[in-house]
């Protein structure tokens, strides 16, 4: 299969280069390439024992993607290379190889993909296969996908295959279907004349993994299903999705036989410079992997998105939230408003105000004492959805104001109040062990102030500065940060920054973390060279996070696409 696909791909590429001269096929080849590397320097201040200092001294990794499309046909492949995998990335990435290749064609209303593909059902609570290369996350499917639209407004998807597990495949199989129906104008003219748009959908996913456990009768087939709907009318929009998973004892949930479920709902209003969204979420035992013994970000079948804002400023990003798949409940409110030009608050250019609040806590859990579980139900716990959980996980309240002062100057100001349960989010402690010793929790709360300005020096020359301050008594203590970036469009970009951890409770750790970078961009190619020291942190994309150890060194990155 692998060889066959490669061969087919080679033919396609040959056709592509042939087409370039002959121009008879009209196909297109696109692709991209990325190469990252870092030379690590020994730095005893951040890493006294050398625990994080890699033996290789230099670590580098890269990949290239190629996608060829010609009318109803498309094919692609990716080559990946880790010599060796960089610090902070999952250790499973070692070596090199072709990790992704597919052929796709559309014929008689069918859309068929064989080989690797990325797909998701609804918001992904039942199934989402995706990649986040910068994070080392990739659970691409390897199998078959069929998509079809039998009648107007109805789309059906069927998938089958195994998931990627670094350079191998998951031990379990996946089989699933999804249907989404957009109530069309033709069949429902009344809805259309009322200005209503309505979509409903449902999905079913089943995994199979052989079981051979001396003590437990483990289910080999585990099913999950979900229903969803989206209704919008004028500025209003509402989305609701509910998912259910059959009993699935796993390393995540401590091999209990409880069912899982989750609900996610949003209401939003957007009109005339005002955008508001309110969401609620509750997840109970929704870890779903193609290997029941899997951990961290490996072989996840579903995606439980975080209901918290993703921060890109350096200090708030040190305490980023990640979804707790074993159970959590939370709400999120976000409002954006643009004060019009020529009003009191709007001034000459208008002012943007953005307010965000999110809070997440544990769900109610009434644990079953194993000694009293005489029938061996192994339910683990019972949860009442109407009751609140006792353990706070996270909250974030922030307000941002953005304003253009005059032709040359723009400013941004942000205030953020943060609470972060380190025992849960960093150490991964379960609710049960926290409830046994609530005083042992490592909590962090703090306030962050950020002031950012952008100054136009002259045409195509800009100076951007940031001042950030985190005030807290917990964890690493207070920090201050200053950053200056000078950009000369369209090619050059220079940046220097320093974070000073002046409030660290350990005096020896009251360190500076300076970092300098140069970036050169030409069209779609970008080369970056950086030198400096980075503190331990959590790096997150889309709510999936990985811990990055402290490091010092010279790093470079080259990306290009065509």
């Amino acid at each position: 299969m692998k060889r066959l696909l490669l061969f087919a791909w080679a033919i396609c590429s040959a056709t592509a280069s042939f087409a370039q001269e002959q121009n008879t096929f009209g196909g297109q080849l696109h692709g991209n390439f990325q190469l990252d590397g870092q030379l690590y320097l020994r730095d005893e201040s951040i890493d006294p024992t050398g625990e994080f200092y890699p033996d290789e001294r230099f670590l580098g990794q890269g990949y290239a993607n190629f996608v060829y499309t010609d009318g109803n046909f498309s094919s692609g492949l990716r080559y990946e290379n880790y010599q060796n995998v960089m610090l902070g990335f999952p250790e499973g990435y070692r070596g090199e190889g072709i990790t992704y290749r597919y052929l796709q064609f559309k014929q008689d209303g069918l859309d068929i993909t064989v080989g690797n593909f990325y797909e998701q059902f609804g918001t992904g609570m039942v199934f989402r296969s995706y990649e986040e290369r910068g994070l080392g996350y990739d659970n691409a499917m390897d199998g078959v996908r069929i998509k079809v639209n039998p009648v107007s407004g109805l789309s059906l998807k069927a998938v089958m295959g195994r998931q990627r597990f670094y350079f191998e495949k998951s031990p379990g199989l996946l089989r699933g279907i999804d249907a989404e129906y957009n109530l069309s104008k033709e069949l429902f003219p009344k809805l259309d004349s009322a200005g209503l748009r309505w979509t409903i959908g449902g999905s079913y996913m089943s995994k199979y993994q052989r079981a051979n456990d001396p003590f437990l009768v483990l289910p080999e087939n585990v099913a999950a299903g979900g229903v969803r709907t989206q209704v919008s009318k004028g500025p209003w929009s509402m989305q609701v999705e509910y998912a259910y998973k059959a009993n699935d004892p796993s390393a995540d949930n401590g091999y209990i036989y409880k069912d899982g479920n989750g609900i996610l709902a949003n209401v939003s209003y957007s009109k005339n410079g005002l955008g508001i969204i309110a969401g609620v979420k509750r997840i109970d035992n929704m870890s779903f992997r193609t290997d029941r013994n899997g951990s961290t970000i490996d072989m996840l079948v579903n995606y439980l998105s975080p209901t918290a804002q993703v921060h890109t400023y350096a200090l708030p990003a040190l305490y980023q939230y990640a979804t707790q798949i074993n159970g959590e409940e939370g709400i999120q409110l976000e409002a954006n408003y643009k004060f019009k030009r020529n009003t009191t608050l709007g001034g000459k250019y208008g002012t943007l105000l953005s307010v965000n609040y999110s809070v997440v806590q544990s769900i109610d859990k009434d644990y079953v004492d194993p000694a009293l579980d005489t029938l061996r139900t192994l339910q683990g716990y019972y949860s009442d959805p109407m009751m609140r959980g006792d353990i706070p996980y996270f909250h974030d309240f922030n307000v941002t104001l953005s304003k253009k002062i005059n032709k040359k100057l723009k400013v941004n100001a942000m205030y953020l109040n943060l609470f972060y349960n380190r025992s849960v989010l960093e150490d991964g402690l379960g609710d049960e062990s926290i409830l046994l010793n609530p005083d042992g929790q490592k909590l962090m709360s703090g306030d962050i102030l950020i002031l950012e300005s952008l100054y136009k020096v002259k045409r195509k020359h800009y100076l951007r500065t940031e001042f950030q301050h985190l005030s807290t008594k917990d964890d690493r203590g207070s920090m201050a940060m200053a950053l200056a970036e000078y950009s000369i469009a369209p090619h050059w970009f220079f940046s220097v920054q320093d974070i000073y951890n002046y409030g660290n409770p350990d005096e020896a750790q009251r360190l500076h973390y300076p970092l300098a970078s140069v970036v050169y961009t030409a069209g779609t190619s970008r080369f970056q060279l950086s030198y400096g020291r980075q503190q331990r942190g959590i790096f997150c994309v889309g709510g999936v996070c990985r811990v990055v150890p402290p490091s010092n060194g010279v790093s470079f990155s080259l990306t290009t696409s065509f």
């Binding site: 996610l264 957007s270 998105s305 953005s354 045409r459 069209g523």
Partner: protein, 186 residues
């Protein structure tokens, strides 16, 4: 002093670069081989904000240049770019009939946040959703922000990845050149 410690390691770094130079050059030559002259957009389905499906080929303008800007609600440089370009977009639309498509690559959970954000930022772009990132993948895009300019024949004539302040001035110039029927000089 701390940084000096590592200075002795620098030769290792350059050695590695030299060793790998050959492979790198081969890779670049390989890319060059496939660099096609005029590219059109691959047929790919996207969604509008009210959930309707639309092919990207039908969304672009055949009367003037089209700017396609890939962005996400969690991507700060993208938001900066779209906000900074808004001032130019209004004029370019009036003067040369340019159309701007802001294609969000947010997944379907975050895509609920797209409409409120677009309104709250006061953007007047046509916003489309690429929830499964199919168009992003078909075009070989690594990261957002990523900007393309198409001429009225629908050919991709300019591409740019990343955003630094001032890039919007460059983009506006490119759009004017394309509208005048020239190939962008940068």
């Amino acid at each position: 002093m701390l940084f000096l410690r590592g200075a002795e390691r620098l030769p290792v770094f350059f050695e590695y670069i030299l060793e790998n130079m050959k492979q790198l050059l081969t890779a670049i030559a390989f890319f060059g081989l496939f660099q096609l002259g005029a590219q059109e957009l691959p047929s790919t389905m996207l969604k509008t904000l009210d959930g309707q499906s639309i092919n990207i080929q039908d969304a672009i303008s055949d009367e003037g240049p089209t700017v396609i800007s890939f962005w996400a609600t969690w991507c700060k440089p993208c938001i900066k770019e779209l906000t900074a370009f808004m001032d130019y977009a209004i004029d370019l639309e009036e003067e040369v009939g340019a159309k701007v498509l802001a294609v969000s690559i947010d997944d379907s959970r975050n895509s609920a946040r797209v409409a409120p954000m677009v309104q709250g930022q006061g953007w007047e772009y046509t916003v489309l959703l690429d929830e499964n990132q199919d168009l992003k993948r078909n075009l070989g895009i690594v990261n957002v922000p990523f900007t393309l300019v198409l001429n009225k024949e629908g050919e991709v004539v300019w591409k740019h990845s990343g955003y630094s302040p001032g890039d919007e001035e460059e983009l506006a110039e490119v759009v004017e050149e394309v509208a005048a029927g020239h190939h962008p000089s940068h």
